[in-house]
Amino acid sequence: MESVRTQAEAANRKMQPWMRSAGQTLMWGVMLAMAFAIGPVVEQWINPYWFTIVILCGINIILAVSLNLVNGFTGQFSIGHAGFMAVGAYTAALVTMGLGDNVSWVSFVAASGFPPEAVFPIGLALGGVAAAAAGYLVGMPSLRLRGDYLAIVTLGFGEIIRVVFMNMEAVGGASGLNNIPFFTNFGWVYSVVVLTVFCVWRMVHSAHGRNLLAVREDEIAGEAMGVNTTQAKVRAFAMGAFFAGIAGGLYAHYLRILTPQTFDFNKSFEIVIMVVLGGMGSISGSVLAAMLLTVMREALRVIQTWYDVDLRMIIYSLVLIVLMLTRPNGLFGTREILDILPSSWRRKLAGGGTKQ
């Protein structure tokens, strides 16, 4: 009986791999389309206050999951994610604002019958690419540095990026950019969320991802087994930065103003704590932690008005310290939410989550 079933399964597997491939990818495509489909409904149903929270949740999920690729799966401790976000945000804003009015391609788009929003995905993509380029640059020194040094270099890069923007007249210097068009909506944010989770999930469950895990586990052994550890690290950095850049673009076109101070160390730290809380090496952990912390932050805003201090940071830092002392693996460790569910559920739910 047992062997009959496994034989059937094997046959099934052998028969049409292209169909399984297409089917699995299609599932993600449907989820992506769903984000756009239910977007208008969501926007009508919930009030603006909750809408803000939902949007910020999405952006934070993108940031946390993309940082997890670097910190959790590759084991490189980056604390400068906000820098990449800044690069993406400024780039995307410059694109949609018509490159400082010098290029009238925004009006060209408008004249050619497309909605003005059509420049948005271009802006987001270019923002992502610019951030990835920055990530590549930061990844390069990481080939020589370990742990603490890398952390402080990423922090330094984040600060340098911020100072550079502060000194660039083209982006408004310290006062920043204003009047960025309002393009970000539920559909855009959550389609990017789906895309990010898709890419990171598939990445870590591929041969490329195994290289990242090997780097995390033991760089010297990885190198000795033929893993090009440098390439693996730089890739992780560039890909993480790419999505951080897109998240920056979404953020810019939601807030409509950008100042260099938005992307300071505290922002980076906020993303780090999401990753650590969720579990370094757990994608679903990052998603949950991002949602949790975003909502918590809003709840804290109420208490905030009593004092003149950023209580959020006190709580975040305490959470982090207590977490390290008592449960250093975060909520999920390297497991996914699927691994925690009872095994009978798991089988029904596709049996996807291999242990990392």
Partner: protein, 276 residues
């Protein structure tokens, strides 16, 4: 399966490594024939691990040349050398501890030059070819694990294996890279007599099964004398003798080097001198 196994020759020519004022290895010449089991021995601090580190690209030799399959590998990075057919194990086991046994093997198979590799986009889209290749790799990983009697532990985390299994997994992982020249750094360290005997079997078996060439560093003289066909002896970074186990055991310089050690340390050195 075989990456130029028959032409597999590893040579060191006048290999020298200098750390500051210290010559850890000087003017070392080694010729390792294909499919040999070659031992590199010597008292502690003789420079054996330094030799391994040069051969595997961890250190760049100060002077001299390394020829791997008639290709000079000086200056190549460790991963490039592995892809050219030379892999190693470590003195103090370095597995990917939090990965499963299967994943440990898969990491190596991913680097195997005989296997097809895919770009990032194809991997993200998980094309049919990618799926097929993954399935093939998993099947092959299981085969390799079977050879090393580890197949029933494939889904366990490597850190949970008993020590002896971890040592075998490390060798299996090196084999999976496709390399057919294996450098084993003290493979018997931490094993009991029974396990060491089994290891000797394993080493011969690997050589025959995978047509591999094996170079090992070892302190356990029973293992070295029992399994190696040829042995080179290092002392203070200089090769003082080379030959068959019988020749080495009779060589007065070797005895002298080891007797000095026997006075201060261990019975291992004593083994070789007892026979005298």
């Amino acid at each position: 399966m075989t990456v130029a196994a028959d032409s597999g020759v590893l040579e060191a020519r006048n290999l020298t490594m200098q750390f500051g004022g210290l010559k850890a290895v000087s003017e070392l010449n080694l010729v390792i024939p294909s499919r040999a089991i070659f031992g590199l021995i010597g008292p502690n601090g003789a420079g054996k691990t330094t030799v391994f580190n040069m051969l595997t690209g961890v250190y760049r030799p100060t002077s001299g040349e390394i020829h791997l399959h008639n290709f000079v590998t000086n200056g190549l990075k460790p991963y490039q050398i592995t892809r050219r057919g030379l892999a190693r194990t470590f003195q103090n086991v370095r597995l990917f501890k939090n990965l499963t046994v299967e994943q440990n093997i898969l990491v190596s198979l991913d680097q195997n030059p005989a296997k097809r590799s895919f770009g990032l986009i194809a991997s993200l889209l998980r094309t049919a070819a990618v799926l097929n290749s993954e399935a093939e790799k998993k099947a092959e990983a299981l085969e390799i694990l079977k050879v090393f009697r580890l197949d029933d532990r494939a889904m366990e985390q490597a850190r949970n294996l008993p020590y002896g299994d971890q040592r075998r997994l490390e060798i299996a992982r090196a084999i999976a890279t496709g390399a057919r020249i294996l450098l084993l750094d003290e493979p018997a360290a931490g094993l009991n007599a029974h396990e060491t005997a089994a290891l000797m079997e394993t080493i011969r078996f690997i050589r025959d099964k995978f047509e591999a060439t094996i170079v090992l560093i070892e302190h356990d003289m029973k293992l070295v004398m029992g399994v190696c066909e040829r042995i080179a002896v290092l002392d203070y970074g200089v090769k003082i003798a080379e030959g068959t186990p019988q020749e080495i055991q009779k060589n007065p310089r070797v005895v002298e080097a080891y007797l000095g050690k026997a006075a201060s340390e261990s019975q291992k050195g004593g083994d070789s001198s007892d026979e005298h």
